[in-house]
């Protein structure tokens, strides 16, 4: 009996000290980690939209399919109001959820894609973030050669309103020539990461399932509108409400 007490006590003490140690480290790093994630999100936003837009964070307070947090980009130059939206989408990957951010234009065309969090296998699914560098080991020149992560690059320009096809027979996107890449874009298709079909499907399925619904719900902004047009439309609506009241009375009289 005393034996069991001793065993239990030892294990408890060790666990308690361990828990304390982890708690202390967690406390010290909590803020830094949150800051990192916020930083990652900001960087992601900058990647999914083209240059020179102003990004505004929107909170969706109503019900509906649109997520609680999403972003609108305004292009203040040339008088165009809306450049597009960004949503955080989650797809079921090979080993858990893949959280990524996708930026879409008002017409549903994908402007950019960034992966926020994933648990995919290093070397296979984690190649979503791979940058196909063309630098050789014999003379690695300093600085980056402007190469972009090719897996995400292949989504740019595809329509999120139509299903995105996966072409399993072609090589990875960064190995294809320009004509084949253009071909794929015209067919709304992407190619897989070798050995990671499920990871690729996570993206196409998540986009296909959610984006069209989001855009439809935010529908008031579906068509390109300049600030002037929107204000003009609002003015017309205000007048219509007034005249409607009058009109109703007229029709009512007519019907009688």
């Amino acid at each position: 009996m005393g034996d069991i007490i001793k065993l239990t006590l030892t294990l408890t003490i060790i666990s308690a000290i361990a828990g304390l140690a982890i708690g202390v480290v967690n406390d010290k790093t909590k803020d830094k980690i949150a800051a990192q994630q916020e930083q990652a999100r900001l960087e992601a936003l900058e990647t999914v939209f083209p240059e020179g837009v102003r990004i505004v964070e929107m909170k969706n307070l109503g019900a509906g399919v649109v997520p609680d947090l999403y972003w609108i980009a305004f292009d203040d130059s040339a008088d165009t109001v809306l450049a597009g939206y960004a949503f955080e989408v989650s797809g079921i990957g090979y080993a858990g959820d893949i959280k990524f951010m996708v930026g879409v234009g008002i017409d549903g065309n994908i402007l950019g894609l960034t992966v926020l969090d994933h648990n995919e296998t290093p070397g296979l699914g984690s190649r979503v973030n791979e940058i196909a560098s063309a630098k050789y080991i014999w003379y690695p020149v300093g600085g980056d050669d402007g190469a972009k992560p090719w897996f995400k690059e292949q989504f740019v320009g595809l329509s999120s309103l139509k299903p995105i096809i996966i072409d399993r027979n072609l090589a990875e996107w960064h190995k294809l020539d320009e004509r084949t890449q253009a071909n794929l874009r015209n067919n709304n298709a992407v190619t897989i990461i070798t050995g990671s079909t499920i990871t690729t499907e996570a993206f196409t399925r998540a986009i296909g399932q959610h984006i069209a619904g989001y855009l439809e719900e935010l529908g008031g902004y579906c068509c390109p509108a300049t600030r002037k047009e929107i204000e003009a439309k609002k003015a017309v609506e205000a007048v219509a409400v007034e005249t409607n009241d009058n009109e109703d009375n007229d029709t009512a009289l007519l019907l009688d």
């Binding site: 982890i22 830094k32 296998t121 290093p122 984690s126 080991i137």
Partner: protein, 196 residues
Amino acid sequence: MIAKELKRGIITENPILILALGLCPALAVSTSVKNGLGMGLASMFVLACSNVIISIIKAWIPEKVRIPCYIVIIATFVSILQLLIKAYTPALDSQLGIFIPLIVVNCMILGRAEAYASKNNPVHALIDGFVMGLGFTVALLILSGIREFLGSNKLLDLLVIPGFQPMTAFILAPGGFFVIALVMGVINYAQRKKGA
């Protein structure tokens, strides 16, 4: 003495290639040299720390619950390591992903705790943890060097031979087994020749 220990950890008692400990993470992570290096150093940190702590409190750990105790200590260090990596090097976190928590079940760490740390003084345990971790890292570098070169024509994410179309099988699971088998075979052959 240090030289002898280094030789022991890296060559004569290399955890992966001789003792065959920690093969699962070795196979999984050795797809690129960067990953291999990251994983090796992370494991070395955990191994050294846990060895020291276990060696210090070895007198108070009862025989019957020693394995759970070791695991709790190892898991603590892995959790601390993960928090530190998430906070200060998030790039490594997204590279290694799920393999950092899996360091807990790396047989090498539990194996050295049981076989060495629980029977030696803290200084020796620290040195052992350090050289074993170093041996683990060296073996990982060899394996991932071969696999990354044959499987994606790269080393450290830089292309090596222009025009060489790599054999993707080496990045996938079968390739891992082939490479580790061949390397172990070569080492066995060399050992036998030396011993014979």
